[in-house]
Symmetry: none
Subunit: 337 residues, 2 copies
Amino acid sequence: MKKFLKIQAASSKPKYEQIIEGILAAIESGTLKRGQQLPSIAELADEQHLAKATVARSYDTLCEKGILMARHGKGFYVSKTSVKTPLNIFLLFDTFNQYKEILYRSFREALPAAAQCSIFFHHYNREVFDNLISDSAGKYTHYVIVPHFEEGISATLGRIPPEKLLVLDQYVPRLHARASNIYQPFEKDVLTALAAAKEDIRKYNRLHVILGRSHFQYIPSGILSGFRKFVKKEQIAHSIESDLLEDRITQGDAYLIFSDGDMIGFVKYAQARKLKIGRDIGMISYDDTPLKGVLLNGVSVISTDFQHMGKAAANAIVNREIVRIENPGSFIKRRTL
Amino acid sequence: MKKFLKIQAASSKPKYEQIIEGILAAIESGTLKRGQQLPSIAELADEQHLAKATVARSYDTLCEKGILMARHGKGFYVSKTSVKTPLNIFLLFDTFNQYKEILYRSFREALPAAAQCSIFFHHYNREVFDNLISDSAGKYTHYVIVPHFEEGISATLGRIPPEKLLVLDQYVPRLHARASNIYQPFEKDVLTALAAAKEDIRKYNRLHVILGRSHFQYIPSGILSGFRKFVKKEQIAHSIESDLLEDRITQGDAYLIFSDGDMIGFVKYAQARKLKIGRDIGMISYDDTPLKGVLLNGVSVISTDFQHMGKAAANAIVNREIVRIENPGSFIKRRTL
DNA sequence: TCTAATTTGTGCGTATGTATG
DNA sequence: GCATACATACGCACAAATTAG
């Protein structure tokens, strides 16, 4: 039996991993072929100065993965020609928003064609979120997650091996050092956008932000702090509303609306009252979609670059990099403010 | 720690198997709940008179299967609520349209909470479609598929056990007798809708249908035949266009537009030319979304009831019924025609 | 901040049972 | 019967992570 691996006692890697990797590499390179017999436990243990249990453990693991096959009383045999594990990605979104498609497509396109990508949605339901992650444990090579939960996600995320985890969209403060995070800098984006729209905002009496708390369990705190900093600095009359209430919509004011559902309600209200949005009343929406380009002759939006986010996420996975990326965003001035 | 297993030394079963089975049974019965800590290796070994390595091996195996989770220096924890997955559904959509969310939500809500539901998209890419189905073979209990391919899907769909297959949205003529099918009666829906809009259509010079072939490999033939039957019967000047070409958009004509991308292009064109849609030029869109309720003060749409479709699909799976359902549709007259 | 105790992670040596040739 | 090789199991030792004090 030709030697196909060398165990280094000094290595930081455990010996059983070195054995497994050595065998996998040998199969991948063709040194070990399908059906070929491996050295016996005793033989390899003796040759590489290992305990038999260590070798046995490695062989067992490979048997369970279906890469080797044990024949009692005879030996271990190679049962697969190729052992490369293709990418098998668990993709957990909050909701089925239209702009998720942009994110998903750019993510998918930057991934190799052989990669598998399963999508799930938690719809801000904490139990669904936890169960999906729990039940998927161990099944995937990577976990890309858009949590949109404020508290207590670290316990659930902590169950995922950090090097397999990529948290999208939301910044997670105390994320494991080996996990990745690509997030929207909400405060910065809101501040930059409102600053860019400063003169237009001054045309209105007050500026309100509609958070839509009844639909979302998570409102990025950056949106609020960015808003507060802006109105304070510019001395603008303002209010912060949890939800869109029709009787609090006032002609002559401007509204920053976080959710598309609220935006639709707002537009309906304005249409019913014959208020022209962009003149009688102002509106800034969050997250761009193709339809917002034509709705009301163009809805002014604060939006992150989902195309960039998807591509960056895919690259981090493909290149096995740990990343902390602030996703670029911009304000697109159209006609509603 | 309450005892949850008894090891019998006399048993023919190996001890490590007894441990694993005991833990699985305890999870299934609810004795062990998710997040709960297991007795430490030393503790269990001591209590049941086992070697620590034996317990460690059992715990390790369960960790690899994702049923337990180890935290170094702390202990082992249960990471799954259920070891058995009763329903594990493979859901393959064409694209990430907004109205898919309505379909998905009503489908998901009619399913038991414990059901797993993995979503995939093929984006009209035949290879992606085939690969996704091939790679998922045997992994799921049910396959719900929106093919939107014209030809040769039966070979691919034939690889799925028919009683596990449910084809959505598209009618498949020679589907296996034991497979299910819930589809839009495109011809009927188009005919009914156009008949309902007859008087409004007569206000325009011609009626055109824009199929959007460059985006879709599949245009339901019923849309075309329904359109043809209507214009023939009502003697309406018409044309059938593969794609939206700006220089063929004519003031005074009406357009039935199949894809949202084309609809956006159409609206942009009209806005640039200051044409008022619903007066200078007519538009009927396909498939309703909340935003179409406010766009242009309301877009007139032909739409199937996605809520019904999702619920019917879930019921067929839950009740293990073979169904052939024509999904109800309707014409919603708003302001663009 | 350091220490001690606990717990997992890794590894060694040995022993017994059982299937194969 | 006998040597070989896998299968299971025990006991021990030390490293690394975590927690309590």
